[in-house]
């Protein structure tokens, strides 16, 4: 590392980033008017935007100062943090591209290079970015290391292999056996051993030595952050709920991509204080909450605003989602005194690596504790592990709990899959059922 690049990074971190953020706020366009159907927006939105902009802004000055790792959303990132990697989450970046309605462009680049349209759009967008260098975030640093886990899907392994091959860099894969009924002792040992075996590789790539006490501090911070995120989601049990799940989709970014860092830990305290104050004061995310809904599967990033408005205008609020819950669900297993086994339990049992019975029980519990009146399931072309089984889940939930439900066929980030008229009819018919079921 040269003194010059390090100095430049330090200057950018301490002066450059704050200056850019200040400039952004200064030239702030006229704020978009808030439709009447919504309550007052969250104050924390501003801080969230700052954190994410700063993260992407600084990333371009990182090469030569810190080693860069590209990481999947379900990977045990705490271990990487102990080696001070600057982490980039391609899934988060792809969601950003999707939200900017640029997904089809990036997917097209990957498809032009021979990647199938049936592949996950997060993967296609990321490959499109890698092949073209395009990004709405200015510039992303090239990775020195790839770190993935098949606890969210098998695609990540082949996607990251394609990048490893193209860039000729090491790839670490954390293999998490699928939980068909209960996690076994052998599964836990197998995963715990893998984590420890990664240390020499990480030391070599990062040029840093592993210190257990540093790792334990990170683990503690990660635990605490996830717990706070869980408390924030719990606050949505209040009627009216202080935020919508569409807000939560945005506020999810730090827990996914900055987990284990002080910035994420501090941020969720700010958000928690705000939602708890709103609950005390009875401030709802939508002006008149009459119906409460659950969302299943990843967000439809390019239609978040459309869906939020559609439902808010009908006095319907999404108060919980299996997706946002995933970063609070299993972190209770983390234990600083038993780091390896506890990480195996945490990362091995996340919702997409767990069986359908588990998902059904979880969803039923969420429906009850959040006083949910109806369910919207996003069947996404991109994510097969999340979408396969939804028909059975829907059948079981509508039968056992007598809950109206609808399935939307769409995609997380490839807007070409969206058919506005069809979705509109489906959603309106769902609302008609919901209104009929609640009011006879």
């Amino acid at each position: 590392m040269s003194i010059r690049t390090e100095l430049r990074y330090k200057i950018m971190k301490d002066y450059g980033a704050p200056a850019v953020m200040a400039l952004q706020n200064f030239k702030k366009r006229k704020p978009r008017p808030i439709p009447e159907a919504f309550g007052p927006p969250l104050e924390s939105n501003k801080r969230l935007k700052e954190i994410l902009s700063r993260h992407y802004f600084l990333s371009r000055y990182v090469p030569g100062v810190k080693k860069v790792a590209w990481v999947t959303s379900g990977a045990p990132v705490e271990l990487l943090r102990a080696f001070d990697f600057y982490t980039i989450y391609p899934e988060n970046h792809s969601a950003l591209v999707g939200a900017k309605k640029q997904g089809a462009d990036y997917c097209g680049i990957a498809e032009g290079s021979g990647f199938s349209q049936d592949l996950c759009s997060y993967a296609r967008i990321d490959l499109g970015h890698m092949l073209s260098g395009k990004t709405p975030a200015g510039k992303l640093p090239k990775p020195d290391l790839l770190f993935c886990s098949n606890n969210i899907c098998q695609t990540v392994l082949y996607w990251y292999k394609a990048i490893a091959h193209e860039l000729n860099i090491p790839l670490i894969h954390f293999d998490a056996p699928f939980v068909t009924s209960e996690q076994t002792e052998a599964d836990i040992n197998y995963m715990a051993q893998q984590l420890q075996d990664m240390i020499p590789v990480l030391e070599r790539v990062s040029g840093r030595v592993f210190y257990l006490n540093i790792f334990e501090d990170i683990l503690k911070r990660s635990m605490e952050t996830s717990k706070t995120w869980g408390t924030i989601l719990d606050a949505m049990k209040a009627q009216p709920a202080p935020m919508t799940i569409f807000d939560a989709f945005g506020h999810l970014a730090p827990i996914v991509s900055l987990r284990g860092l002080p910035v994420a830990q501090d941020y969720y305290h700010i958000l928690m204080d705000e939602v708890e104050t709103r609950v005390t004061q009875g401030i709802g995310a939508i002006s008149d909450e009459r119906y409460r809904l659950i969302w299943d599967n990843i967000a439809i990033w390019y239609k978040v605003r459309f869906l939020a408005t559609f439902f808010a205008e009908r006095k319907m609020n999404f108060v919980t989602a299996t997706y946002t819950n995933a970063w609070a669900e299993t972190t209770g297993y983390l234990n600083v005194k038993d780091p390896w086994n506890s990480m195996a339990k945490t990362y091995g049992q996340i919702i997409l690596n767990n069986n359908l019975k588990h998902r059904l029980d979880l969803m039923k519990k969420m429906i009850k504790t959040y006083s949910v009146d109806g369910m919207v399931m996003h069947s996404t072309r991109s994510c097969k592990p999340y979408s396969v089984g939804q028909f059975d889940l829907r059948k079981a939930i509508t039968t056992d709990l007598d809950l109206p439900a609808v399935i939307l066929d769409a995609d997380i980030a490839d807007e070409r899959v969206w058919s506005e008229q069809q979705i509109h009819t489906r959603l309106e018919a769902f609302c008609e059922t919901l209104e009929g079921s609640k009011h006879g």
């Binding site: 028909f391 059948k395 509508t398 109206p404 439900a405 399935i407 066929d409 899959v417 058919s419 008229q421 069809q422 009819t425 489906r426 309106e428 018919a429 008609e432 059922t433 009929g436 079921s437």
Partner: protein
Amino acid sequence: MVDLYFVGVDVGSLSTDVSIIDHSGKVLSEIVIPTGVNGSEAAEEAFDSALKLADLSREGITAITATGYGRASVTFATGKTTEISCHGVGAHQLFPRTGTVIDIGGQDSKVIQIDSRGRMLDFTMNDKCAAGTGRFLEVMANRLELDLDELSSPANIEGESAPISSTCTVFAESEVISLLAKNTPREEIVHGLQRSIVNRIWSMVTSIGIEGEVTLTGGVAHNRGLVTLLEEKLGLTLNIPENPQTVGALGGAHIARRAYQRSLEPATN
């Protein structure tokens, strides 16, 4: 008592249908015209024709429900409801013991579960692809140089049927082209097409289940061969309305009637 009349206008992707009923629910007139390129004009035209047929004027109409894909373009409507709810109510009016409605429309197909008053309990729809819809048959009729009536020849269940993909209209069309190139008899292809649609509907039916009597609505209910195959697959006899295309419009008219009756309720308290 002043005469009350209620109208349902169903602007679908292929046809625009209007149904006019009186306060007792008696059907006074029904009209089906092609939607063409302008849903709004088609709605106006069909409405005027239906009024003429019933010998009524616009001023005499109490309430109008617009439904179908073009419902937003019906400017003269007093309310809007999805075609899914409308088909449920319409099927219930015609066959009161209906528990399940299978609607094979021009652009999509749906399976709807309804309660004893015709209100929708649950539904499922085909995904974005047109396979398993009326449009699918229209494309194929064109390719086979048959009209839609010819395409509805009663299927010989025991007879040969050409294998045709049920996943995509465009791919299915190229399959039909290659079958024709191989001199496959047209009746085998027709049979294969009917089977393809039935398979699509079957997967929707299994995902939602069947309750009570099953009523088939939408223009495809005219296709006798398809009805036979569907009945065989489901193992039951389907209720087939006399005018399957206007069931959505009829349901819309009844929804307008119910809404009007409900609006009177507080006044009587």
